[in-house]
């Protein structure tokens, strides 16, 4: 027994994490991958829909057709109106994936509250909320090995923003473009100044999610891509 006390302090959590409770619970793993796949489908189908009219407006209306052009906020450097025959199926895919993403997200959020997942795994500890620690993490001064068993403060904050800000706002601005849903809840559109504003914000929120995913993938790569992906699939930390 005396020998085990002599073990280096770092080795203890490592073996504990590998053998005991999974690093990510089964529900976190399953909802993570369903969200990843449905968000990817939403992105692809969203691009397909956007290509029909890659211009953005502010307010309620914005119109351009043929030679009659209304003033736009900004245009993407793409053909004016790109006719693509996959737009219809793109719309079907968008709303199909949206349902999967939203239902999975709802389930995950309920689980997160009731299981204590948010409280224990995502809410940053008070002592970690220091600018110095956050800026150290942002400058990649910490080794990825430190968060093999628990998320670091920047991870926690960015996951919370994605879960409680970006995705809900994407859903909100998406519904703000629906003439049927806004007939019941007009504020879904009017809060942002109109249906076209909701569409423009929907676009920028998408850019924010893409940015998050790119950074997320880079951090996973930095920590050892296959190992972290393996952990998110099986729940086990490779030794």
């Amino acid at each position: 027994m005396a020998e085990s006390i002599q073990l280096p302090a770092l080795a203890v959590p490592a073996t504990e994490g590998a053998s005991d409770a999974p690093r990510h619970s089964a529900i976190v793993r399953v909802t993570h991958w369903i969200t990843a796949v449905s968000a990817f489908a939403l992105l692809l189908s969203g691009i397909v829909i956007l290509l029909a009219h890659p211009r953005f407006y502010w307010g309620e209306t914005g119109g351009a057709s043929g030679s009659r052009v209304g003033p736009s906020l900004f245009d993407l450097p793409l053909p004016f109106v790109l006719e693509n025959p996959i737009r219809g199926p793109g719309r079907y895919l968008h709303f199909f994936s949206a349902w999967i993403c939203v239902l999975t997200g709802l389930f995950y959020v309920l689980y997160g509250f009731f299981s204590g997942h948010f409280k224990w795994n995502l809410l940053p500890a008070k002592k970690d909320l220091s600018w110095r620690l956050i800026s150290d993490h942002l400058r990649l001064r910490h080794s990825p090995a430190e968060d093999a068993h628990s998320y670091n403060v920047v991870q926690r904050l960015s996951y919370l923003v994605v879960i409680f800000v970006l995705f809900p706002l994407l859903l909100w601005t998406g519904l703000g473009m629906s003439p049927a849903v806004t007939s019941v809840f007009p504020w879904l559109a009017t809060t942002f100044g109109g249906q076209q504003s909701a569409r423009t914000i929907h676009f920028f929120l998408t850019i924010a999610v893409i940015a998050f995913v790119l950074v997320h993938l880079f951090m996973v790569y930095r920590a050892g891509f296959l190992g972290r992906v393996w952990t998110m699939i099986t729940g086990r930390t490779p030794r």
């Binding site: 009219h53 351009a64 219809g88 199926p89």
Partner: protein
């Protein structure tokens, strides 16, 4: 012990599966009974379409109104997708100031009728300042003047078993349908006026059927034939409109 657990597990799983199946079957029956099943409910995307249509039908009361705007918000630019038909039939009607134009209403109605434009204008006229939002992404606000489709359908005696209202354009490639709740909605217009004038040719003269709680493509232009049915079978490919054939969803409340 392990055998017991296996048997218990088996019974629980069996019961859960049976309950699940019964639940799904009952849900499907109830959904169909209350009109929660869109025509394009099959295929890989069918589940999403059905969820959207059912959820919005539950959420929206029959009288939830599409957002209306002030006169100041009427758009100065009113884009169109596609010009008025160049066919001889349409050009002849146009040359005669649409005096020979007729809107035929048939199907599940007690008195199938053909209305001239003057006949239609004898119904009470209403206006609405609403969005025309194209699925492409652009939109405009206009003031539409017309008669309520519900008034006209009541006048010809819409049958109680009616479920769908089909509307067909002079431009034969463009036809669509809505459910009876949308057809009887107070904002569903047979519109003949736009922004204080007769509706411009490219916006659907003489009649555009306006469905403002759905995207623009449901508001078919140049409508001259309305058929009330209780089934979609045998009409086109049975998907309720020309849109699903081109890949677009039948329900466009989005």
């Amino acid at each position: 012990m392990s055998e017991l657990i296996t048997r218990r597990k088996l019974i629980t799983t069996g019961l859960a599966t049976a309950a699940g199946l019964a639940g799904v079957t009952t849900a499907a029956k109830i959904a169909d009974r209350y009109g929660f099943i869109p025509p394009d409910h099959r295929g890989i995307f069918g589940a999403g379409e059905t969820l959207t249509y059912a959820a919005q039908r539950i959420l929206m009361s029959r009288h939830s109104m599409a957002r209306e705007f002030s006169r100041a918000e009427i758009s100065k630019v009113t884009p169109v997708n596609g010009k008025h038909p160049q066919t001889d039939a349409y050009q002849r009607l146009l040359a005669g100031g649409f005096a020979d134009w007729k809107l035929t209403i048939d199907g599940l109605v007690s008195r199938p009728t053909s209305f001239s434009l003057a006949d239609l204008k004898r119904f009470p006229a209403y206006t609405q300042i609403t969005h025309q939002a194209c699925e492409e992404g652009w939109s405009f606000i206009a003031e539409w003047k017309g008669v309520r489709l519900s008034d006209v359908l009541n006048a010809v005696g819409i049958a109680p078993q009616a479920k769908w209202v089909f509307y067909i354009s002079i431009d034969k490639d463009w036809w669509d349908s809505i459910d009876v709740p949308d057809a009887m909605h107070p904002q569903t217009f047979l519109a003949f006026g736009m922004n204080g004038q007769e509706i411009p040719l490219d916006h659907g003269a003489p009649i555009r059927l306006r469905v403002p709680r759905q995207l623009g493509y449901k508001s078919v232009k140049f409508v001259n034939h309305i058929t009330v049915t209780d089934t979609m079978k045998g009409i086109g490919d049975g998907l309720g409109s020309a849109s699903p054939a081109a890949g677009y969803s039948w329900y466009a409340g989005i």
